[in-house]
């Protein structure tokens, strides 16, 4: 069923009796050509693009809980392509282009809002680095703009310009960056994939892989064995945990990134803002809440909750940059498991086990990557070759010394 303003009006006048389920609740079949593990944003997008763009059939997405319950259900909704390195920038720019046409493609309003993202600069070395980054973005076909303090004052007059410990000296803006209504992304992909015949099976945890002489034949699940031509892991924070069932050790550690939302407020934040001298980034949702975050808790965890030091650190940074939000109240804090890779960049690759594929290591940047990740993973699954914008995301880059280390922190996941 197609969504449209007219449809909404028609349904309103007929008691909303016509709305159909956004997706089915099918019983699992005994085997599929493609079994994708994890009905988060990436898993659902992968299924959708496999069916829609690569014309594949017999696809299932297995989800241990409810769809969209992973990090697509708990993030700070930012989309951007302001990356520095060749291995990353083309991929994220491709992703941003997919975001730009997503709602029309899915016939679902995910509220893609290109309100712009601004990275603030506080010293000369940072300026040099951001100029290099801005140039890399433009050379890769993305948009970037250096802003003067005066320009920033005009757009964000309420920042702390005058009594700051680390004064603002400029900023790097990407106007095409912005925010997206995160849950709607999962629902939109799920609805579109479902309508193409993809089986989305909730409450169906994968408990093991059936591997026979080096080839993966399918998965053991809470609802019995499900055979598969190709099995695709796409479980973000649980990557190590799941792949251990295939005896794989990953270049990944899991930690928690806390995110924060304030009580609803009339609009104050025009776009997405990031502090360059502390751990704080912020935007304002259409509902009015300030949505903000900072750095991960910096210890390994799967607990999906964090602790006070990280919370206070974020709010201290927020107050240092935007003292005007002081009397707004923090409404809710939540934490998402993030699979931090050894260089802060993701992996979309085959494994050494035939028929078993891996997508993970998104650190805390997975949301913005959702469309490209889905498309590239679908490409890999369909063709067994990496998508041109995801060629660097290989397992062997660490062995070969081809790390994609945006922050230059080295193989220490919690530092990326």
């Amino acid at each position: 069923m197609r969504y449209s303003g007219l449809r909404v009006i028609k349904e309103a006048l007929t008691g909303h009796r016509g709305w159909k389920p956004a997706w089915r609740n099918p019983e699992p079949q005994k085997d599929y050509d493609f079994v994708i593990i994890g009905a988060g944003g990436h898993g659902l997008a992968t299924a959708y693009y496999l069916a829609r763009h690569y014309g594949k059939k017999r696809i299932a997405v297995l989800e241990k809980g409810w769809i969209g319950g992973g990090n697509v259900g708990r993030n700070t909704t930012i989309v951007r392509s302001n990356y520095l390195l060749d291995g990353n920038e083309p991929f994220y720019e491709y992703s941003l282009k997919l975001w730009e046409g997503l709602e029309q493609e899915l016939n679902y309003n995910a509220m893609v809002s290109q309100r712009g993202i601004l990275n603030l600069i506080h010293n000369d070395a940072q300026r040099d680095a951001f100029i290099r980054r801005g140039n890399a973005m433009i050379l890769n076909g993305a948009d970037a703009e250096m802003l003067s303090v005066d320009q920033i004052r005009r757009e964000y007059p309420f920042l702390n310009f005058d009594n700051a410990r680390f004064p603002i000296t400029g900023g790097l803006a990407q106007r095409r960056g912005g925010t997206v209504r995160h849950d709607a992304v999962a629902w939109g992909y799920a609805r579109a994939a479902d309508s193409l015949g993809v089986d989305i099976i909730q409450n169906c945890e994968v408990t093991g892989f059936r591997i026979e002489n080096g080839t993966c034949k399918g998965v053991e699940t809470a609802r019995g064995f499900i055979g598969a031509g190709k099995v695709a892991s796409c479980v973000a924070g649980s990557s190590s945990h799941l792949m251990a069932k295939a005896n794989m050790r990953l270049p990944i550690e899991s930690t928690v990134l806390q995110a924060f939302v304030s009580e609803g407020l009339k609009p104050v934040m025009p776009g997405v803002l990031t502090f360059g001298a502390g751990h704080f980034y912020c935007s304002q949702s259409d509902k009015g809440g300030l949505v903000f975050g900072g750095d991960p808790d910096r210890y390994n965890t799967y607990a999906q909750r964090g602790n006070l030091p990280a919370i206070e650190d974020v709010c201290e940074s927020g107050m240092a940059l935007v003292p005007a939000i002081g009397r707004a109240r923090l409404l809710r804090i939540w934490g998402g498991n993030v699979d931090m890779s050894m260089d802060g960049s993701p992996i979309i690759d085959r494994t050494d086990i035939g028929g078993l594929y891996f997508n993970g290591g998104w650190c805390y940047g997975g949301f913005k990557a959702t469309p490209a990740s889905g498309m590239c993973y679908a490409h890999l699954l369909a063709t067994d070759t990496p998508h041109e914008v995801a060629q660097a995301y290989r397992f062997d880059r660490f062995r070969r010394g081809n790390m994609i280390d945006e922050k230059g922190m080295g193989p220490q996941p919690n530092a990326h």
Binding site: H241, A303, F398, N414
Partner: protein, 95 residues
């Protein structure tokens, strides 16, 4: 979190800096045949368990001791804290 420092008793984890898995103590022999492979695994591959995890914490604003903390990554329960130096010696590290 609270880390029970073997010498100083309960200390707020905020005083510490977390490094990562305690396996970082087991630095490979640079002259081994497969030194490259060993260093690759040592530097990059992790068990990253959902459960008991042995990990390194540095008492940054405290006594500058490196500790090996055994902590459950699902519940954050800490069941053991050792001086990293002692652990290193148990692992046969010396000079």
């Amino acid at each position: 979190m609270i880390i029970h420092h073997p010498l100083l008793g309960p200390r707020d984890a905020q005083e510490f800096t977390f490094l990562g898995a305690a396996t970082l103590i087991e630095r490979p022999d640079w002259q081994a045949e497969d030194a490259q492979e060993q260093f690759h695994d040592y530097l990059h591959l992790r068990d990253n368990p959902a459960g008991e995890h042995r990990e390194l914490w540095f008492h940054e604003t405290g006594d500058r001791s490196w500790l090996v903390v055994t902590r459950n990554t699902l519940t954050h329960e800490i069941t053991n804290v050792e001086m990293a130096r002692d652990v290193a010696r148990q692992k046969g590290r010396s000079k």
